[in-house]
Subunit: 446 residues, 2 copies
């Protein structure tokens, strides 16, 4: 039969994240090739597809979508913490990047990142970095869905002498990956403080021409906003609107310091914000007003940011903070309920990355991107509401299976497409040289 | 030889948490009976103790000390979330407790809590609940160090008709457990809004007479402070000082809304605060000013609070929030460095519970309470600074071994003293009745 499934993913609870956010008890997702062909009662689907491969667990939900980060920066994870941002960049990150951000190390760091993300249920990530061609290659091989973002800055970077050269690289990526099943392309204009208005305009025109989304850091810190107002007389979102960068599908990373007018601008443009609360806290950027962002009605997703400022790529931490921080910030225990936080990490993220037509919900006709969470351990017992456990109790290590584009990339907590131990060993071998170059003393071994 | 060790705990990095917070590379902790007999280079200790049992891993540190919670409330984990505090208590928690908080269910919920805490590296916890005799029995059997806290409230509770009766129960506990190697006793006066001043005075006098610490919820919410000022003309800490409750060793849980004068009162009394940031966020109580509390010089530890308001007992979440929240709250990336957050969870907690003479650091002569964290997985790779990984990357599931009072209670991620699967199954069997009693519909199975 032509609709015979290859794979059944069964759960005590299946959360398809469709409208109304239903919970299906004793249900299953039937997968054929890359696609979901049915979601329904487990017994019915088992009867209909007797020969299918089968994986199962406590909660089945769409794979997590990590909407902002710099995957290859895993090699700089915890390089230096608890120092002011400027000192951190100038004394540690930039010197290390100058020396170590090569095509080989971007591939290596991305492999480590993909291993970490699969193991915590992430099936798609948006990247903003250098040598993005390597990132695309690694993701295509490992079976990860990715939105590449060639970073554009006004000065020399590890992979380009100028902003114009970076935009050229973006053009080549867009041409190369058009129609690829896993790899999509965006243009990553770094920020208003690193890309001058004329290059913002040029980048916006190019993104429109290639029909790809733009990623950009927006209003991350109070200082960024003040400097933009001082230099240009307007807030970063207004400057982006004026230069054409704020358009349908633009992904504004952070949005910690937005005015009500900024939020309306972003929403009305059909753009959205990638919330990275853990990075915002760690770098001292502030506490994003997630309740106000939600109330604005704009597109919203969650991100981890890079491992140098988080220090991990476990999106469950972002889910938890998205549910917890607004409650504490506004002293309101009803702010951002658990299911809303889970929606942000899945369907919300897919829509933010303009992938809502393909992923983000479990429905027949969409690509089969999903993860399965174990609920048998003490910290998940008892279970009254699966959304509550996902928002307030789940850690990356509770993920037992991860499926991307119909392929089981992580099964029974083992990687099927990456030799994670070998990748980790290669990163550990590189680490002492990075530590030495950054002038660090002390332990640099695992 | 009389100083022959039974057990060697070896680490790539050993953090003894002694003054200066040193990092010992390739080191070990030698244990004989209940005690640490040496901390030093791994090779030396292996040579000196060739016959000792051996466990090892990436980072060895003192066991975590969870300074506030209600362990048996694990059976109500996630019973209802995202509702206002009063509705949560009146409609869900109190009706459930009235019907289900029996000696049997307190023992069951505590067993589940102990299994969860061992599996995340916690070796001591302070409890505040009912039927504390059961809590003591479970901990003694499982090998957990505990500070019992018989809860005193002015009205009928699941285990007592009155405050006076609860104080009597506390007296019996203090007599029973005097000199016990694992079980210590405190008196848990619930809060200024549930215990009237005359009972606070009586409780304080009794605690002084038995020479045990007092636990009490203090300035958890803005409303608690406002009500106290309206009723008594003073803040909760001042009322506690006036009634004798604020004395050496008193453990003030929460302290979210403290004035500078409040902080000075607590510090000068030789008391301290148990920080429970995750619970404070979830219940909408607010964001504690951890930097100001640290600056005051008072005793400070971390806690999870009960599983009904967290929703897990993983103290690593509290470590991370203690490091992250002050940075975001004050927009200062240097606030509460990683090592300070780790210190709070170990040595700080031990000192807060008046156990600093026995536990909290790894030194010869102290009890052998410690945990071992694996650092081989992708999210812990590479490693530049073990403190950074503990504060920003470690989850409970990274703990591989836990030792309490010289006994390996958790080894290679398996419980040695508790049948965790059987306990979880018993809690799952109870859950549908709890859900039904609370008027909940929907999934209550795992």
């Amino acid at each position: 039969m032509h609709d015979r499934a290859d794979l059944l993913v069964c759960g005590d609870h299946v959360l398809p994240m469709t409208d109304g956010l239903p919970v299906l008890a004793d249900a299953a997702v039937a997968v054929r090739g890359r696609d979901i062909v049915a979601v329904g009662p487990r017994a019915d689907l088992e009867r209909a597809h007797p020969g299918a491969d089968r994986i199962s667990g406590g909660i089945v939900l769409p794979g997590l979508v990590n909407t902002h980060g710099h995957a290859a920066m895993t090699v700089y994870r915890g390089l230096m913490d608890d120092v002011p941002l400027h000192e951190w960049l100038v004394k540690y990150v930039w010197p290390a990047e100058k020396r170590f951000t090569s095509p080989e190390n971007v591939a290596l760091g991305t492999e480590l990142a993909v291993a970490e993300m699969f193991a915590s249920g992430t099936t798609t990530f948006a990247d903003m970095y250098f040598f993005e061609n390597e990132v695309g290659r690694v993701c295509a091989e490992a079976g990860m869905r990715v939105l590449l973002g060639q970073a554009v800055l006004a000065f020399e970077t590890p992979d380009a002498p100028s902003a114009d050269a970076s935009i050229e690289t973006g053009a080549a990526l867009a041409a190369k990956y058009g129609g690829h099943p896993l790899v999509s392309v965006s243009l990553a204009l770094h920020a208003v403080y690193t890309v001058p208005p004329e290059k913002l305009r040029k980048g916006a025109a190019m993104a429109a021409k290639w029909d790809v989304p733009i990623q950009i850091h927006v209003s991350e810190s109070r200082r960024e906003v003040a400097d933009c107002v001082a230099a240009h007389g307007v807030t970063p979102p207004r400057l982006l609107a004026d230069t054409g960068v704020l358009r349908k599908g633009t992904i504004c990373a952070h949005g910690v310091h937005l005015t009500e007018e900024d939020r309306a601008l972003i929403r009305d443009a059909g753009a959205g914000v990638s919330l990275n609360p853990e990075s915002n806290l760690k770098l001292g950027s502030g506490v994003p007003d997630i309740a106000a962002l939600l109330a604005s009605g704009m597109r919203l997703g969650l991100g981890t940011d890079g491992a140098a400022s988080n220090n991990d790529l476990d999106l469950w931490d972002a889910v938890r903070l998205a549910a917890l921080l607004p409650k504490g910030r506004d002293e309101d225990p009803t702010a951002v309920p658990a299911r809303e936080a889970v929606r942000l990490a899945t369907r919300g993220g897919a829509e933010l990355l303009s992938m809502g037509d393909r992923i983000g919900t479990l429905e027949a006709g969409k690509r089969a991107d999903l993860c399965v969470v174990d609920t048998s351990s003490p910290h998940m017992t008892p279970l009254f509401d699966p959304y509550a456990h996902l928002a307030y109790g789940t850690r990356g290590s509770d993920v037992v299976h991860t499926v991307v584009d119909g392929r089981v990339v992580y099964r029974d907590r083992r990687h099927a497409t990456i030799d994670a131990a070998a990748v980790a060993a290669r990163v550990r071998a590189l680490a002492p040289r990075i530590a030495e170059s950054a002038g660090l003393r002390g332990p640099a071994r695992r």
